[in-house]
Amino acid sequence: MAKKKFVVGCFDDEAVLFPAVKKVRTSGYKIHDVYTPFAVHGLDHALGLRETSLHTAGFIYGITGTTTALSCISWIFTRDWPLNIGGKPHFALPAWVPIMFELTVLFAAVGMVLTFCYLCQLAPFVKKHHFHPRATDDLFVMVIECTDKTNTDDLKAFLTSNGAVETDVQVAEDGWWLGRYDKDEMPFENKEIVAA
C-alpha cells in the first residue's frame, strides 16, 4: 500500500479550529481528516464532507430482513410443513409480524455495523496509524495530505499562524487497511515512520 506524507496540525480550541479549517481549504490544501476528542457539530459541513450513505445501506439491509423473514415463514408454514396452530389460518400474517420486525432490525443493525467498520477501515487485528494520541483526549488534530509539490515547512508555518499549537510531518499508509500488520512492517519497527 502506498505511503503518503501528511502534515499534522494540532489545535486546542474549537473556536480556532473552525476558521483554520476554512483557511486551509480556501488555500487549496487537501484535508485528509480532522480527529477530534468528541463529535463537533458543523465540522462535517466545514470540511465539505458529503452526507453518508450508511442509512441507505441500512434501509436496504432492513427490507432484506423483512423479505427474508416473510418468505421463510410463509414457505415453512404454508408449503413445507403446514401445522394447525390454534385453528389459525396457515397464512397467519399477524403472528409473523414480530418475527418480520425482529429480522428487519437484526439485518439492519448487523449490516450497518459491518458497513460502518468497512467504511472506517476497522477490523479485528488491524492497526490504525494514530496521528496524535491526544486526539482522544483534548486536542483537535488536523491532518493535511501532501503532494509532491507541497512545501512542508511553509505548511507548518501556515498552520502555526492559524493557531496550531503543535505541528509535525508524518508518513503513513493511506487507503484500505491503512497501517495493517504486514510481514515486513511490524509495529515495533514502525518508529522511524512516525519520526520521519
Binding site: H41, G42, E51, H55, G86, K88, P94, A95, V97, P98
Partner: protein, 409 residues
C-alpha cells in the same frame, strides 16, 4: 434582535377562513341538532352525540399534547424548542376552551342518561350484570363527573401556570443565578403537569371517556394508544403552525433543523402508535376470546373494514415510507402534506374508536362529521392565532435560547 419580527398579527385571510369554517361548522351543528339530536329515533341521537364526543375529545387531547410537549422538553432540559415554544404554548391555550366544550358534551351525555352511549349508565342493566357490577366503582356517574371536572380543570390550570412562567423570559435578562432558579421553577411546574397528564391521558381518561362505551370490553393498551394518537397529531399541528409562521416571515430563528426534529417526532410517534395498534390487535386476534374479539369483529370484518385498514395505511405506511428520509423531514412542503395527512388519519382513528362502537351496522361518516370537524378547525385557527398575538414569538431572555439558535441536527 431588533430586526426580528416577534409580534404576530392575524392576517385578514386567516380570519376570513376561520370564520368561514366556524360558520360551516355551526350550520352543520344546528342542522345536526335539529335532524339528529332532537330526532325521536334513539339511534340518531346517539350518532349526533357520539359525533360531538369524538370531535371534542380529539381536539382537546391534540391541543393538550402541545402542553405535554413543552413540559417533557422542559423536564429533559431541552433547548432546541425555545425558538418556537410560543407556538405549542398558543395551541395549548385552546385546552380550557375545547375542554369546556368536551365537559359540556360529556356531562350532558351522563346526566342526560344516554345509556345507548354509556351502557353502564343503565342501573337496571348493571344490577343484573356481574361484569358491570365489578366495574361499578369506576364506571359510575359520580366518579365520571368528578374525575372529568378534575382532569379538565387541572389540565387548564397547570398548563396556564406553565404559560405564565414562560412570560417571565420576555421581561429582563437573567444572570446565571436567576436563570438557574428560573429553570428549576420551570422544572417543578412541568413535572406537576406531566404527572397529572400521566394519570389522565396516560391511563384513566381514555378508559373513562372512550373505552367505557364498550362497557364489557377492555384493553390495557387503550390509553397508550389514545395518547400516541393525540401526541402524533399534536406534533403535526405544531409543525403546521411553525411552517405557516415561517411562510409569513416570522420565526427567523427557527430553521430546517428544528423542523427536522419535529418531523422526527411525527415519524417516531407514528411508529409508536402502530406498535400499540398492533400489540392490541395481535393479542386479541391470537387469543380469540369472544369477550375480547367483540371490539374488532365489526371493525375488521364488518362495515368498518375500509376505514380500519385506511387508518393503518394513513397512520403507519405513509409516515414510515414518506418521512423516513432525512431530506423529507427537512422539506417544508412534504412535512406540511404529512402533517395534514396525519391529523386527518388520527381524526379518522378517533372516529372509528367511538363511532365504531356506537353504530355497529353502518358507517355514518358524512356531512355531520366533516361539519363538526370544520367547526373545530375554525375555532382552533382563530383561537391559536389570537393567542399568538398576545406574546412575543421568541422568549428572548430565556437562558436556553442560544442553544435553540445554534441547534443543528
Amino acid at each position: 434582535m431588533a430586526s426580528i419580527k416577534t409580534q404576530f398579527e392575524i392576517p385578514g385571510k386567516m380570519k376570513t377562513w376561520s370564520y368561514a369554517l366556524i360558520g360551516v361548522g355551526l350550520v352543520a351543528l344546528i342542522a345536526g341538532l335539529v335532524i339528529k339530536g332532537f330526532s325521536s329515533d334513539e339511534h340518531e341521537q346517539t350518532i349526533f352525540w357520539g359525533t360531538l364526543m369524538y370531535n371534542t375529545i380529539f381536539w382537546t387531547l391534540v391541543c393538550n399534547a402541545s402542553m405535554f410537549f413543552i413540559c417533557v422538553t422542559t423536564l429533559a432540559m431541552g433547548g432546541w424548542q425555545q425558538s418556537f415554544r410560543r407556538i405549542p404554548e398558543a395551541i395549548s391555550t385552546m385546552v380550557p376552551i375545547f375542554g369546556a366544550i368536551t365537559f359540556a358534551v360529556l356531562i350532558y351525555v351522563v346526566v342526560g342518561h344516554k345509556h345507548h352511549i354509556y351502557h353502564w349508565l343503565d342501573s337496571e342493566a348493571v344490577a343484573n350484570d356481574p361484569i358491570l357490577k365489578g366495574k361499578a366503582g369506576f364506571l359510575n356517574p359520580v366518579f365520571f363527573i368528578v374525575w372529568t371536572t378534575l382532569t379538565i380543570g387541572l389540565w387548564s390550570i397547570l398548563g396556564w401556570r406553565m404559560r405564565q412562567i414562560s412570560s417571565e423570559a420576555d421581561e429582563a435578562p437573567m444572570d446565571a443565578e436567576k436563570g438557574a432558579s428560573y429553570i428549576w421553577r420551570n422544572t417543578i411546574r412541568a413535572a406537576l403537569f406531566t404527572v397529572w397528564f400521566a394519570l389522565t391521558v396516560g391511563s384513566t381518561i381514555p378508559w373513562l371517556w372512550m373505552m367505557s362505551i364498550d362497557a364489557h370490553w377492555y384493553s390495557t393498551m387503550y390509553s397508550w394508544y389514545t395518547f400516541a394518537s393525540s401526541f402524533v397529531s399534536g406534533m403535526s399541528l405544531v409543525a403546521l403552525w411553525v411552517i405557516y409562521l415561517k411562510n409569513k416571515g416570522y420565526l427567523e430563528l427557527t430553521s430546517q433543523e428544528h423542523l427536522h426534529d419535529i418531523g422526527k417526532f411525527m415519524f417516531a410517534f407514528s411508529i409508536f402508535w402502530t406498535y400499540l395498534w398492533f400489540s392490541q390487535y395481535m393479542l386479541i386476534w391470537y387469543a380469540n376470546i369472544p369477550e375480547e374479539t367483540v371490539y374488532f369483529k365489526h371493525r375488521v370484518q364488518g362495515p368498518y373494514k375500509g376505514i380500519f385498514f385506511l387508518n393503518l395505511i394513513i397512520n403507519f405506511l405513509c409516515p414510515l415510507l414518506i418521512l423516513m428520509k432525512r431530506s423529507a423531514k427537512r422539506n417544508y412542503t412534504l412535512v406540511t402534506f404529512m402533517a395534514v395527512l396525519i391529523i386527518f388519519g388520527h381524526w379518522i382513528d378517533f372516529y372509528q374508536m367511538i363511532m365504531g362502537s356506537l353504530s355497529k351496522e353502518h358507517v355514518t361518516l358524512g356531512w355531520l362529521d366533516f361539519g363538526i370537524l370544520s367547526l373545530f378547525v375554525g375555532m382552533m385557527i382563530l383561537g391559536v392565532g389570537k393567542a399568538l398575538t398576545k406574546k412575543p414569538l421568541v422568549p428572548k431572555y430565556h437562558p436556553f435560547l442560544k442553544e435553540s439558535v445554534i441547534h443543528q441536527v
